[in-house]
């Protein structure tokens, strides 16, 4: 209970910071970041305590709707997500402390930042439908305001509009979900819901609604369209928070409903999350690979990761429905770990993108390049983030990926033929996603940080302030440590796993070393990152030593060889678009109707040859643009009703009367 008071006090501090920032102006606005950092630490420590010690804290506040009250509850699941969120808040607050106090601070951002952080924490604490949706929508609203902070840009405004409308659709779906769970008598408290599992018909509707609601916030394709517009539009540290952390709150919502409130699952509940997740994972990355905007690429990559997490959750549902607890634990551990990992490396990458944006003023890959020379530390941190997100060992992204593959490999053991036959497809698509992720981030890193600068701004970039480096460095360190000691983290997640799927992973004593990650049992699958890292370290040191001893040590600097035709102009380098060309040829034609056209003037004509690429976003065209146009067209049609003559309005009235009278005549 005192822990909840600490949480309350920290949330209060955040709200206070928001209120304070709403009245002060100028450099004083910077005050919100230290407060947010301290609050995040306090919240995170409490969450960690609850997670490690177990136990459930509850409280009921006499606010909100009186028949519902405002229930708060901190259990292992929300504590876990609390750690995810507050880690992100801490890192982004540190980054915010490095913002330029004169140029960067604005009353459009700083008051909302702590509010956003508080709302996300409140979602986790909510223990009734009203409190949940209240906080959820507050979170959307605060982030919307942050997205439109650069309000003079039409792109920001469009992004903000699309975002909040999509958020409203999502909230509506969640309202339905909770409506179905609460039943006609209005048992909105989660405890009441847990006590009364809904019938199968309602459960289907609730699950669908939850998937739509949480999927739209998390960015499940086809509900993702707002995300690559809104996340980049916000200031970078807010983008980090939205992409790295807010999407996790969406996943929390889905987990809370699907694993906690909805009662025992049926196996086929797993199909929608898995199918959507797989599609999201692959398509999200293809979008990312074809895009040329640094922050948008990162946002699309978030879409992909959310897809991966949903696949893991879907598998966990399926295993749980079949009472295969060990496999469910593996899938759930994969999901949880990936949630944690993604919050780290995605925040890191967005902060890195922010650093790039700050240093060069641009985020289009076409204008970057060679930043590794001008921003060496940011480059190292970004590299760690890029390798982590590409799921490469021994970094943290791979740990969750490994667990996920293990759970896919266990899927054939389920009795349902559908899931059996789906498992190879899931596995292959996840592998494709992993390979695409590597391609995507090799591209991003190679274009933005390596090579030669493609613009003046990139050539004169500068390193960011120390505190921002600390924020990125801390996250990078977490990525490394999380990669090496994933087994320890998974052991710490045992309470969550037990609460959600009934069992944890085998404890670390079962493996060859204390840091061995074990799926099922030690004889079946083991991954020991420290040992591998040690091996690699020894091998590379040995190599270095041997090479040092045996070889010619002289190194000469010279112009690039480039097959004998080096061109000093940086425009001859591969660009982001040309890097994507092989992938575009392979995957783009079918999914994006990618067309390449070359206009080659005949010999003697002095016009330059032109090469252009067109991509069609089918999802956008069919599910967003078309309904949007339909609404407008329908509204134009209906608008004729505004300009009728009075007599015609009387006709409408008369018609309504006569129709009702006729109905009354017919009805008995």
């Amino acid at each position: 209970m005192p822990d909840l008071f600490v949480q309350g006090a920290a949330l209060g501090a955040l709200v206070f910071a928001a209120a304070l920032a709403a009245v002060v102006r100028g450099p004083a606005l910077a005050i919100v970041y230290p407060i947010a950092a301290v609050a995040a630490v306090a919240l995170g420590v409490v969450d960690l305590g609850v997670l490690l010690q177990g136990g459930v804290l509850t409280a009921r506040l006499p606010i909100g709707l009186p028949m519902i009250g405002f229930h708060l509850r901190l259990d292992s699941l929300s504590a876990f997500f609390g750690i995810v969120i507050n880690g992100g808040v801490l890192a982004t607050s540190l980054y915010g402390m490095g913002l330029d106090r004169v140029k960067d601070l604005t009353p459009r951002v700083e008051p909302l930042f702590p509010l956003f952080a508080a709302a996300m924490n409140l979602v986790l604490l909510a223990d009734d439908a009203y409190a949940f949706l209240f906080s959820w929508e507050l979170m959307s609203l605060a982030s919307w305001a942050l997205v439109v902070a650069r309000h003079t840009s039409i792109d920001s405004r469009r992004a903000g509009h699309l975002y909040l409308v999509m958020a409203a659709i999502g909230t509506m779906a969640l309202i339905f979900a909770f409506g179905g769970l609460a039943g006609p008598s209005g048992g909105y408290a989660f405890d009441t819901i847990r006590a009364h599992a809904p019938g199968p018909m309602i459960a289907v509707l609730v699950l669908t609604a939850a998937l739509v609601g949480c999927g739209s916030k998390g960015g499940l394709i086809p509900l993702h369209a707002w995300l690559p517009l809104a996340h980049p539009a916000a200031p970078s540290h807010v983008s980090a928070l939205m992409s790295g952390v807010m999407t996790k709150v969406a996943i929390y919502g889905f987990m809370r409903i699907a694993f906690d409130l909805l009662g025992p699952p049926a196996w086929w509940w797993s199909l929608p999350p898995i199918i959507l997740g797989v599609i999201t994972a692959v398509l999200g990355l293809l979008y990312a690979v074809f895009d040329g905007d640094l922050k948008r690429v990162l946002a699309y990559s978030t879409v992909e990761n959310v897809g991966v997490i949903f696949v893991a959750l879907g598998l966990a549902l399926a295993f749980r429905a079949n009472h295969q607890d060990a496999a469910a634990a593996v899938a759930m551990a994969a999901a949880l770990l990936h949630i944690l990992n993604h919050s780290w490396f995605k925040s890191l990458l967005f902060l890195g993108a922010g650093a790039v944006l700050h240093a060069t003023g641009r985020r289009d890959l076409a204008g970057l390049g060679g930043l590794i020379h001008r921003m060496p530390r940011t480059a190292v941190f970004f590299l760690i983030g890029a390798l982590s997100i590409s799921a490469l060992p021994p970094l943290n992204g791979f740990v969750s990926e490994w667990l996920l593959f293990q759970s896919v490999l266990a899927a054939p053991a389920m009795p349902q033929t559908t899931l059996n036959f789906a498992s190879p497809a899931i596995g292959a698509m996840l592998a494709l996603a992993a390979a695409l992720a590597a391609a995507c981030f090799v591209r991003v890193y190679g274009i933005a940080f390596l090579g030669r600068p493609r613009s003046e701004e990139a050539a004169h970039a500068h390193e960011v302030p120390l505190i921002q480096q600390v924020a990125m460095g801390g996250l990078a360190l977490l990525c490394i440590l999380g990669g090496l000691f994933g087994a320890v983290i998974v052991a710490g997640l045992a309470p969550v796993l037990t609460a959600l799927v009934g069992s944890g992973l085998p404890n670390s004593g079962a493996g060859p070393t204390p840091f061995s990650l074990i799926a099922f049992n030690a004889a079946r699958s083991v991954y020991d990152a420290p040992v591998i890292a040690l091996f690699v370290a020894i091998a590379s040191l040995t190599t270095l030593a041997v090479v040092h001893r045996l070889s010619e040590r002289r190194t000469r600097r010279g112009p690039a060889w480039d097959c004998g035709f080096p061109d000093p102009s940086p425009t001859t380098q591969y660009t982001a678009s040309s890097f994507a060309q092989p992938l575009r040829r392979v995957y783009g034609a079918a999914l994006f109707s990618a067309r390449e056209s070359v206009v080659m003037p005949p010999p003697g004509d002095t016009r330059p040859a032109r090469f252009s690429v067109t991509l069609v976003d089918v999802v956008w065209a069919t599910l967003y643009a078309r309904p949007g146009r339909a609404v407008l067209r329908l509204s134009e049609r209906l608008n004729a009703l505004q300009f009728l003559s009075i007599r015609r309005y009387l006709v409408l009235m008369f018609a309504a009367l006569v129709i009702l009278l006729s109905i009354a005549t017919v009805m008995t």
Binding site: F643, R647, V651, F654, V658, T668
Partner: protein, 219 residues
């Protein structure tokens, strides 16, 4: 009892016939005459109700109906029509034949609706009510199938006649007199507006040219 019923029924029936007559007329002048006839019939019906129900206050209503709607307004409208020089011909949205058919259907609807009323103390009133409802619906119909402002006003007043008929048919209903006065004020406002705004054609075109261009939200 029976002759009380018969006479009120007869008068209500006459009013319904005049309602059809309103729809039937081709010239504004005859529309006004038909309306005057309906109003005078109403005055008779109300007076009969006042006498038979022993409610002397209803005589006021009858008097208003007779003087205002039976005489003053028709005369005033006659003058207006002449002075404004608007066409003497009734501007129709649908032809007389169709209007009459629709009117018949509406009358049928009114009957069908009140046939469902249980037999008992209400049954006498319900027949009167059916007639009143038909008159109201026909008045409404008149408002929407005729374009000219004067005929539209007449339609509204005919509706109002139906209302008064229904109200007096409801035995012992309080406030009828007050309401009939209130309605008279309303009607006076209508007619007044027609005078003031010189509504030549129809309700939609108050005689201010700009209005047609800028109705509502149009650019």
């Amino acid at each position: 009892m029976n002759e009380v019923y018969d006479i009120s029924h007869l008068l209500a029936g006459v009013m319904l016939v005049t309602s059809f007559a309103l729809l039937y007329q081709e010239r504004i002048a005859s529309v006004l005459n038909a309306f005057a006839a309906q109003s005078i019939t109403l005055a008779l019906a109300v007076a009969w109700a006042a006498w038979s129900q022993d409610r002397p206050d209803l005589f006021i209503t009858a008097l208003i109906a007779l003087t205002l709607k039976g005489i003053i307004i028709p005369v005033a409208l006659h003058r207006t029509v002449t002075r404004l020089g608007i066409h003497r011909e009734v501007e129709k949205v649908v032809g007389v034949g169709i209007a009459l058919m629709v009117g018949l259907a509406l009358t049928g609807l009114a009957q069908a609706l009140l046939m469902k009323v249980a037999h008992g103390p209400l049954s006498y009133a319900s027949e009167q009510l059916a007639l009143a409802l038909a008159i109201i619906l026909l008045g409404f119909l008149m408002m929407i199938v005729r374009r000219n402002a004067v005929t539209q006003v007449v339609g509204f007043m005919s509706m109002e006649n139906g209302l008064i008929l229904a109200a007096t048919g409801a035995r012992g209903m309080p406030l009828v007199v007050e309401v009939s006065v209130a309605f008279s004020v309303l009607i006076a406002l209508f007619v007044f507006a027609v005078f003031v705004f010189r509504i030549r054609e129809r309700f939609d075109t108050i005689d201010i040219e700009a209005l047609d261009r800028m109705r509502g939200d149009r650019r």
